[in-house]
Symmetry: none
Subunit: 213 residues, 4 copies
C-alpha cells in the first residue's frame, strides 16, 4: 500500500516526513510534561499543551488518542529519563552504604535539574494510576535487585525475601517524602537537600540495614 516507487530515492523524502512527525510527537510530549509540571495533571488542557508545542489543537489527536493517553505516557517517559540519569551518574565500584548514598544523591540531583518530575510522579497515582503502578513496579524491581546483591555480598543480613520488599518500599517512601519536605517549596523546587538530612537517612540505613545485628 505504500511501496509504489521501488527506489531508494523515495527514502530521504520519507525520512524527512517521519522525522518531522517524530519531532512533533516529541515536542507535544515535552510540552505536556512542562505543563503538568507547572500546572498539574488536572489543569493540563490540550489547548495549553498544543500552544506550548506550537501546533494546532487538532494536531494533538494525530499523535495521542486522548488527553488521558498523553498523561499516561508522561511518567514512563520521564521515569526512563530519570533512571538513565541515575545509572549514568552512579560512580563505578561503590558498594554497601556508600552505593546507597550515591543513588540517593543522584536521585535528588535529577529532581533538582528536572523540577517538573516531582509533580508528574506524585500526581500520577491520582491521574495516571496504571502508569504510576508500573513505575513503582520497575523501581521496586531494580531496588530489590540491588538489595539482593548487597545480601549476596554479605553487606546485609537477617531479612528474608518478603521483608526485603517491604524495606524497598520504605526506602522509596523515604526518598519521596524527603524530596517533598526538603527539595521543594511553593514554586516547584528549592535547591539541593541539606546534608544533615542525608546523614540521618544514612544513619538509619547504616544501622538498620547494613548490619548483621
Amino acid at each position: 500500500m505504500a511501496d509504489t516507487n521501488s527506489l531508494r530515492s523515495s527514502q530521504p523524502r520519507r525520512r524527512s516526513r517521519e522525522e518531522k512527525a517524530r519531532e512533533t510527537y516529541r515536542s507535544l510530549l515535552e510540552a505536556a510534561a512542562q505543563v503538568v509540571g507547572s500546572d498539574g495533571y488536572a489543569d493540563a488542557s490540550i489547548s495549553k499543551i498544543t500552544q506550548l508545542a506550537g501546533v494546532a489543537q487538532g494536531t494533538f489527536y494525530n499523535y495521542f488518542e486522548s488527553r488521558q493517553d498523553v498523561l499516561n505516557r508522561l511518567l514512563p517517559y520521564m521515569g526512563r529519563q530519570m533512571l538513565d540519569h541515575i545509572a549514568s551518574a552512579m560512580p563505578r565500584g561503590l558498594t554497601g552504604p556508600a552505593r546507597e548514598e550515591a543513588r540517593l544523591r543522584a536521585f535528588f540531583a535529577y529532581l533538582d535539574t528536572h523540577p517538573s518530575f516531582y509533580r508528574i510522579l506524585y500526581e500520577a497515582e491520582v491521574f495516571a494510576p496504571e502508569a504510576h503502578a508500573e513505575h513503582i513496579r520497575v523501581l521496586v524491581k531494580g531496588y530489590k535487585g540491588a538489595l539482593n546483591r548487597a545480601v549476596a555480598r554479605g553487606e546485609i543480613g537477617g531479612f528474608d525475601e518478603d521483608e526485603l520488599e517491604a524495606v524497598t518500599y520504605m526506602l522509596l517512601a523515604s526518598r519521596a517524602y524527603i524530596a517533598m519536605r526538603y527539595a521543594r517549596n511553593g514554586d516547584g523546587h528549592a535547591g539541593p537537600v541539606p546534608d544533615h538530612v542525608i546523614q540521618a537517612y544514612m544513619k538509619v540505613l547504616g544501622r538498620g540495614l547494613f548490619s548483621q545485628a
Copy 2:
C-alpha cells in the same frame, strides 16, 4: 467549630437556629468526605455533595466560600478524627519499639475501618496542598515529640534535632507507602497489613533507631 455536643440535649426546642445550621454544616462536610472518599477530589462536585447532604445546591454557599473551601476543610476534619482514634487506641505504658509498633498498627487499623480516609489523605497533596502541608506539620510535630521523649528515656541516641526531623519524615513516608502497597487494592482497601511487613519495619527501626550504635 465542630464541637456542639455539649449543648444538644439541653435545648431540644430552641436549637432551631444555630443548631440546625451547625447540623447542616456538619452534614455537608460529612457528605463531602464521603464523596471524596469514593470518587476522589476531582470528581467531587457540589451537586453530588449537596444531594448526599439533602440540601439544595445554593445552600452549599451559605456554609462554604467555594468548592475549594470545603476541600480544604476535609483533611483537617478527618485528620483530627484519625489522631483522636489512634490516641485512644494506644495502650498505656508502652515505651521503646513496642510503642512505635503499637502506633503503626493503630494507624493501619484506622485505615482498615475508614477506607475513605486513605483517599482523602493521599489526594490532598494534589487538591488541597495547604491542608496537606498543615496535616503533615501536625503529624511531624507529634511524632517528633514522641521521638524526643524516647531520646530523653535513653531509648534513642546519636541523632541531633534536625536529623530527628528527617527520621520522622522517613517514618511517615514508610507508613504511607506500606499502606499504598499492602493495604489497598483496586476497590479501596484490602484488609490488614501482613505481619512480615510490620516485622521488616520494626527490624529496620529497632536496629536503625532504637540502638546506641
Copy 3:
C-alpha cells in the same frame, strides 16, 4: 425536603417558579422544532436552539439530558399537536370515503400551517428512530381503528385483519409522498395540495377500498 413552610402562602411563589420553568421548557422545545424544521436535525445545534429560545447554553441542560433527548421529544410533541389539530378539524357525522377525504385534507392543512412538521417527521426516522417508530405505531393504531369501524359499518369488505394493516401503511405512505411531492418546495412548503391529486387519491381508495368487489 421541600416542605419547610407549611402555609399556602408559599404556593403562589412556587407556582411562579414552576410556571417560569415550564415556559422555559416550552420555549426550548419550540425553538428546537423551529431550528430542526429549517435546518434539519443534523444542523440543529444546542447553540442555535438556546439562542433562539433566548437562554444560555447551559440552561438547555436543566431541561434536557442531551441533544438527542430534545430531538427525541420533538416528534411526539408535534405529532400530538397534529393529531389534536386533525381531530378538532374533522366534521361530525362523516362516514365512508368522505370521512377519509376529510382526514386527508385536515392533514395537508396542518402541514400547510406548520411547515416545520414535515421535516421533523421525515428526518425522524434517521435521527430519532424510536420516536419515529412510536409515532408510526400511534398513527397506524388510530387508522386501523378507523378502517375497522368502516368495516363494521359495512363500508369496507374483503380484507382480513393483517391485510388491513398493510393497507394502513399504504395510506400513510401515500399521504407522506403526496406531501413530499405536492406540498413542498425548496424552502419548506409550497401551498395547498392541488385538487386533482386528492381526486386521484380518492378514486383509488373509493374503488380499491370502499367497495365490496
Copy 4:
C-alpha cells in the same frame, strides 16, 4: 462515467494511467456505498471511506470535490444498479396487475439481497436531497410510462395524466412504507415481505386501478 468494461481486456499493460484512476474512483464509490449502507450518511467520514478503499485521505479529493459530492453520487450509482437489476428480473410478456405484482416482488427481492440500498435510498432525502429528488423523478417517469402503456392497453381507465402521476407517487410510497414496516428490523433487513401484504397491495390496486369503474 462508470462503463469501462469494454476496454479492460484489450490493453492489459497500458491501462496504468486512466484505467487505474477509474478503478480508484470506482473503489472509492463502492467504499462510500458500503460505509453509508452500514453507518448511514451522517457517520460516513472520509477517513472511513478511504480506509475501506485502501487509499490515503488526500487521494479522495483527487476524485471528488467534497464529501457532499460523493454522497450525491451514491444514489444515482446505486439507483441505476437497482433499475437494471429489476429490469432484468422482470418476466417477459406479463401485463396488467400481474406485471405490477412482478415489479413489486422484484423490488423487494433486490432490497433483500442489497441491504445497504435501503439506507442509501431512504436517508438520501435528508443528506442528498437533490439526488433523491432526481431519483424519484426517474422512477416516476418510468412508472408513469408503464401505467400509460397499461392505459393504452385498456387495462386502466378513468384517470387523466395528472391523476396518473399522483397515483404513481402513491405506488412508490406504498413500496417504501411496506419495505420500512415489513422488510426491516433493527439490524438492517429481516427477510422477505409476507405474502398477505403483497395480496393486500394487489387487492387495492386491482380494484382501485385496474378496473374501469
